[in-house]
């Protein structure tokens, strides 16, 4: 996606100040949306709704976290949704052995796809967009083959389903997992050499290489990480819904890309934030919830079609809002 230049851009269109404002844009939008929901719908901030929204969106948060890292290196990963589907199938097939086996198998499946992506992109130097487009097809195909074209039941006798359906300290376990992943992700990005290398590579890959950074290894690691996170999301998918679903996960990649961009990460790489990616995910995820509540209000019924139109318009609105904020003279 990004061109690999080896000189300094004259003046990057978004400086750091711009990016920070952009990111604040997402928080402002998120708060406004929550406020809107709270005022308009009775049970919107009810415990049940909050918990189920968090439980459901944890999967997307994990996928978006991986996507954020990939995008920060200037890459992209279109295979995350299919990878999650594959992982859900694999982990479901092994769920009768137990949670650990299912979890390990699912994450390993994601890791394998990530490894393939990383090797092809970092060593064979194929463009990420095409590479992950291909592995998206491949992962989907493998998932369908492994699953025999239908959903694979998980075992309800082991603790496997606790991972997706259980609570810990009154808070959904998938949400705990997502929170932990984001904390680790933020530490990784901001407090380790690896994180800095990720940003440097996205900023100017050739320069990063000449500065002596292990570019290929970092890129490999980022795709592996993304694959593993998608795998984890797949395990949660299987565990939460009680089945490995080879056809699930379509469009997750675009959702994740949108969430990452809305979270203020530069699509060309080199600048990004872990925390605001979470805000971006919640922002986009809440839209579905809000639309369901709107239909429940009964003033009028929004068909699935109108929902698409509204979601598109909303995305445009948020992106334009960011644009205004980023351009506002100081």
């Amino acid at each position: 996606m990004t061109s690999i230049g080896d000189t300094i851009a004259y003046r990057p269109s978004t400086g750091r100040r711009g990016a920070i404002l952009q990111r604040q844009g997402v928080v402002v939008a998120l708060l406004l949306l929550i406020l809107f929901g709270a005022v308009r719908y009775d049970d919107f901030l009810g415990l049940y709704n909050v918990m189920s929204v968090l439980r459901y969106n944890a999967m997307f948060a994990l996928v978006a976290l991986g996507m954020a890292f990939v995008i920060m290196t200037g890459g992209i990963d279109l295979s995350v949704g299919a990878t999650a589907a594959l992982a859900s199938v694999v982990s479901a097939s092994l769920s009768d052995v137990g949670l650990t086996a299912g979890l390990a198998a699912g994450v390993a499946a994601g890791l394998a796809i990530g490894l393939l992506n990383g090797l092809v992109i970092a060593w064979a130097r194929l463009p990420p967009f095409v590479t992950t487009l291909a592995t998206m097809l491949a992962a989907r195909g493998i998932a369908l083959l492994v699953a025999g074209n239908q959903s694979v039941s998980v075992s309800w006798d082991t603790s496997f389903t606790d991972l997706g359906g259980g609570d810990f300290l009154g808070f959904p376990i998938p949400a705990w997992i997502a929170v932990a992943a984001y904390v680790l992700g933020a530490v990784l990005l901001n407090l380790t050499g690896f994180g800095r290398a990720v940003l440097a590579i996205g900023d100017n890959e050739e320069a990063a290489r000449l500065m002596g950074l292990p570019v290929q290894r970092v890129k490999l690691a980022v795709y592996v990480l993304t694959g593993a996170l998608a795998g984890l999301a797949g395990v949660i998918l299987a565990s939460q819904f009680g089945a490995g679903q080879p056809t699930e996960g379509q469009g997750w990649e675009l959702f994740a890309i949108a969430a990452v961009v809305v979270g203020g990460t530069l699509l060309t790489g080199g600048m990004g934030s872990v925390g605001f990616t979470l805000a971006g995910t919640l922002l986009l995820g809440l839209i579905f919830n809000i639309l369901n509540f709107e239909n429940g209000k009964g003033d009028f019924t929004l068909s699935a079609y109108w929902q698409s139109v509204i979601r598109g318009a909303f995305l445009l609105l948020v992106v334009l809002l960011q644009n205004r904020l980023a351009r506002r003279p100081s």
């Binding site: 039941s153 939460q240 819904f241 009680g242 089945a243 579905f288 369901n292 239909n295 429940g296 019924t301």
Partner: protein, 300 residues
């Protein structure tokens, strides 16, 4: 039993969790639910899962959060929707499954949800198979156009059809490919399969849309559907019946989408304390040239 109760009220707030809205059948189903709600003056909370089982569970969650009285769920898949059924039960909301069911080993009608109202996909496939055996005197080289890989109607219709033809050795499937339940894909797949298997004498499509695509492909290849090749499919939509009237399609098994009246009545009866049978199988028609033209007007 431990099924949630439903109090008698003049009006209810009911949820209808639709799977997707990308084919005429689903549209007709949604319309029927909406019409019935309007007729009874009940408030309908309508959600659309956009072909995602996971989202459908989240949709049911948001209905529970909104304290609906009854949930009608048209589950996208058998297994992944189990959590939705269980959550509704736990929240004390009676739930009816319509048109597709969930895994009977994990959730039972009359115990975990009130009842399943719908068609039997396996039976549909079987009826199509039986008709084809008769129409071809037990001798056919069949091209099968399957529904979307992994979807339960595709799996079940295939299963029923295979069961039906298993006992007749002359019935032979020469090619079987995914046509994605769509007219365009059905046409393209048919075009290609016809090149590779010009010897085919019959087509079994998992739905009418694909068979209509196949007819276009056959005609473009100079074949005469209905004369030198026998076609059978499932759904009974208007264009399908028209094709029967035109003599191109042999027969189609109805899969009626008009669930509204039956489903709402079941809920009303349930509130009134009537015993609801755990499985209510729709009476599906069978259309061939004997009855297609008279049914055309009332089809969807």
């Amino acid at each position: 039993d431990d099924l949630p109760k439903l109090a008698e009220k003049p009006t209810y707030k009911v949820g209808f969790a639709q799977t997707e809205s990308n084919n005429p059948w689903r549209l007709a189903q949604t319309q029927s639910m909406k019409d019935e709600a309007a007729k009874r003056g009940w408030q309908l909370v309508y959600t659309d899962a956009n072909s995602s089982a996971a989202k459908q569970v989240a949709d049911v969650d948001s209905m529970i959060a909104q304290h609906v009285d009854v949930i009608f769920l048209s589950p996208r898949e058998e297994k992944p929707l189990i959590p939705a059924v269980m959550k509704a039960k736990k929240a004390g909301i009676p739930l009816f499954l319509i048109d597709r069911s969930v895994d009977a080993n994990l959730a039972k009608p009359g115990r975990d949800y009130v009842s399943f109202i719908g068609s039997d996909f396996v039976e549909e496939g079987r009826r199509a198979g039986e008709w084809l055996i008769k129409a071809t005197n037990g001798n056919a080289k069949i091209i099968e156009l399957q529904g979307t890989s992994g979807s339960s109607p595709a799996n079940d219709r295939k299963k029923g059809f295979m069961e039906a033809i298993a006992k007749t050795p002359g019935m032979q499937i020469v090619a079987s490919q995914d046509g994605d339940f769509t007219r365009d894909k059905g046409r393209q797949v048919m075009e290609t399969l016809l090149q590779a298997h010009p010897e085919a004498t019959a087509v079994f499509a998992h739905n009418d849309e694909m068979v209509l695509g196949a007819i276009t492909a056959l005609e473009a290849a100079g074949r005469h559907p209905g004369k030198d090749i026998t076609l059978v499919s499932i759904d009974g939509e208007k264009d399908g019946l028209q094709a029967i009237v035109d003599g191109k399609l042999g027969a189609t098994v109805e899969c009626n989408p008009r669930f509204g009246p039956g489903a709402f009545q079941a809920a009303a009866d349930y509130a009134g304390g009537k015993k609801i049978p755990p499985i209510v199988v729709n009476k599906d028609h069978f259309y061939d040239k004997s009855n297609a033209s008279e049914s055309l007007a009332g089809s969807y």
